[in-house]
Symmetry: C2
Subunit: 139 residues, 2 copies
DNA sequence: TTCCTTGCAAATACTTTGCAGACTG
DNA sequence: CAGTCTGCAAAGTATTTGCAAGGAA
């Protein structure tokens, strides 16, 4: 992914830096979407010297370049970020007990969109769908 | 609705006040869910003297009593509140241009829930579904 | 009169911005 | 070397909490 990142950065007059590389690496190594502060903590554990502000700025850049997507899960009050590059459209389910987040691969909403467009006269560009419940350990 | 409110307040050792009555009235008079600060502005326009903090506290109480539901629409970074009492389960669509929020009456997700429970081993308790697009005026 | 409720000030949590020095290409 | 990037400090936004005065029953 680094190759494409360099390409994307150059194309927009930006540079590949130690911190951008590190943020992308940590995101790639994670199963579930991370918040800025979680990302910051992981980087600290890996002895990567970085400021929280830089984490935010880096995530903004990666989002602009289309490498990550930004999610807002309900009842969280913060953003989360996950690698988007090469991943299919998907949704999430979050455990109300422990907060664990799991991907859902199915998306039943494509058919629904045209129905909603008729009902509301909107042009639908995006949707968010999220489930909440209890994971096996928390039941 | 005031009758039921008094009942609910009394049952939990609370009182009916000028501000609680006013907050409920404004919410009832609105088509779409309001944020705390929007509610505050409306109250000011109606010459109701109230503090923003009290708006938040009142909304919390109304939520606890089940009179309003709290929503988090995406890309907003704030909560919104709408009357829940006597309303059916529904979702929303929000215009990416002007921010207008419209109710959707259909909910296609009941059937999906059991499928997701099988897929993830979670017990599903809630879901959020939201669409974003452009309303007729903003297209 | 009791004790719940309110307003004001301040704190909190997450995120963004300003600026000068550090680093990439 | 030019111009981008970073860290630090500070500001911004939404929301919550502490406390003493005000108000409902």
């Amino acid at each position: 992914m680094i190759g494409k990142l360099i390409e994307g950065l150059r194309a927009t007059g930006r540079r590949l830096t130690r911190t951008r590389r590190a943020v992308l690496r940590v995101l790639e190594g994670n199963q579930y979407p991370l918040s800025a502060s979680e990302l910051y903590e992981r980087l600290q554990k890996e002895k990567v010297s970085i400021d929280l502000v830089t984490v935010y700025r880096t995530l903004t850049v990666l989002k602009e370049l289309g490498f990550v997507s930004q999610l807002e899960l309900h009842h969280e009050g913060q953003f989360r970020y996950e690698i988007r590059q090469g991943r299919k459209h998907h949704h999430h389910i979050r455990c109300q007990g422990c907060g664990r987040i799991v991907d859902l691969l199915l998306c039943p909403l494509k058919k629904l969109t045209s129905l909603i467009e008729k009902e509301t006269q909107f042009v639908v560009n995006e949707h968010t769908l999220e489930f909440g419940g209890l994971c096996p350990k928390c039941q």
